[in-house]
């Protein structure tokens, strides 16, 4: 190991030892120092760059939870990257499972009256009225989600943050609502 790296490792190790003794300032310094290191480690390994910060935060929480397992005679970085690697694998597994379960909502991206809903003998005003009626069949929360996504054009992440839901739950809810709307419109003479 190069000298500079060893010195840095010793510094981190000393900070961790102080943290194990309850030194809050040392702990805060340690976590702030390792955050960019973890970020660069995860950045090259996570495809969805928007999620890097989430995973970094998971790793920081895991480090906090496992801090009693750090042994002073052990190199700190080996211990830290062990946890980072473990949480990274967890994240990749969870993402793979979610991707398998979910569908893409891209095909429902725009509920364009003129494209996807073709009125047979109706004017645009009537179509709009029918759509408003159709929206009313949805429960309040689902209606709000559809309006945010398809009328206001907000991203799934923004909606999830606003409603304090997970992104996958938002996607599933919107998908179900659109299905309901689709069948309602079909029953009312739209192809």
């Amino acid at each position: 190991m190069p000298k500079a790296e060893t010195a840095k490792n010793n510094d981190l190790s000393a900070l961790m030892r102080a943290a194990q003794d309850g030194d809050k300032v040392a702990y805060s310094t340690l976590l702030s120092t390792i955050t960019p290191i973890l970020k660069s480690f995860l950045y090259t390994r996570i495809f969805d760059k928007d999620r890097v910060d989430d995973v970094v935060q998971n790793v920081l929480m895991a480090i906090h939870k496992a801090r009693h397992t750090y042994k002073p005679e052990q190199p700190f970085e080996r211990w830290m990257f062990g946890i980072a690697r473990y949480k990274l694998i967890d994240y990749i597994r969870a993402t793979t499972r979610r991707n398998d379960r979910e569908f893409s909502t891209d095909k429902f991206e725009v509920l364009n009256v003129t494209d996807t809903v073709t009125p047979t003998n109706t004017t645009d005003k009537e179509v709009a009225e029918d759509l408003i009626t159709a929206l009313k069949i949805l429960p309040k929360k689902q209606r709000a989600l559809v309006e945010r996504a398809k009328v206001q054009g907000l991203s799934i992440a923004e909606i999830a943050a606003e409603f304090k839901m997970s992104e996958s739950a938002v996607k599933v809810s919107i998908h179900r609502s659109l299905k309901k709307l689709q069948s309602f419109m079909a029953e009312n003479g739209y192809s």
Partner: protein
Amino acid sequence: MSKDKKNTDDLIKSLSDNLEPTKPIYSVKSCGLLASAFLLFIVVLMGYIGTNDAVLTRLLNPMFILEMLILAVSASMAMMAAFRLSVPDTKIRPLTVAFLLLPTIVLIALHSFNYLETSSTSLIEEMHNHDLFLHEITNLLLMISLPTALLFYVIGRAAPTFRLWTGYAIVLSTACFAAIALRMFCGMDDGAHLIIYHYLPVLGVSGLGVFIGAVFLRW
């Protein structure tokens, strides 16, 4: 400042504010204590259930003593491997691999040799004795259940990052301890019997430890 950066800073602040002093987790001493506790458990079990009549004669046989020593060392090595695996690391270190593989290799080698040298029946013939199989397996499972649960609890309090290998090491360790007791209860010394009813079940349940580890060592 971006929202994510702010969230991370908030998290660091909250974690630092809630920091409590901790003691570094267990040492080799606690590993030795647990191993001694398991050996004591076996002795108590033997006192309670009783051993077979041939045990005293067997204890005078150097090969039998060697076998028991190998099992005890294997169990302790597997336990040390489990303890080493319970501390986060980037990879499984060579010493841990040695602790895990040596017991397995030594057990297989010892009993293959024993079978080739002494066995009067073939493995296939021995396999047909289903009642005996059930009896030995039940004994083994009964003997490993309590120590395994205890070891999973102790190791689970740490932070194993290689859950499957840790699960394997834990069950291999307790199964090796149980194999010592099993040899005391069972009166048969035939090589084929030992392979089919003692050591294959030990390796089999250790394999199950992989799945148990995957589920119960999540953190």
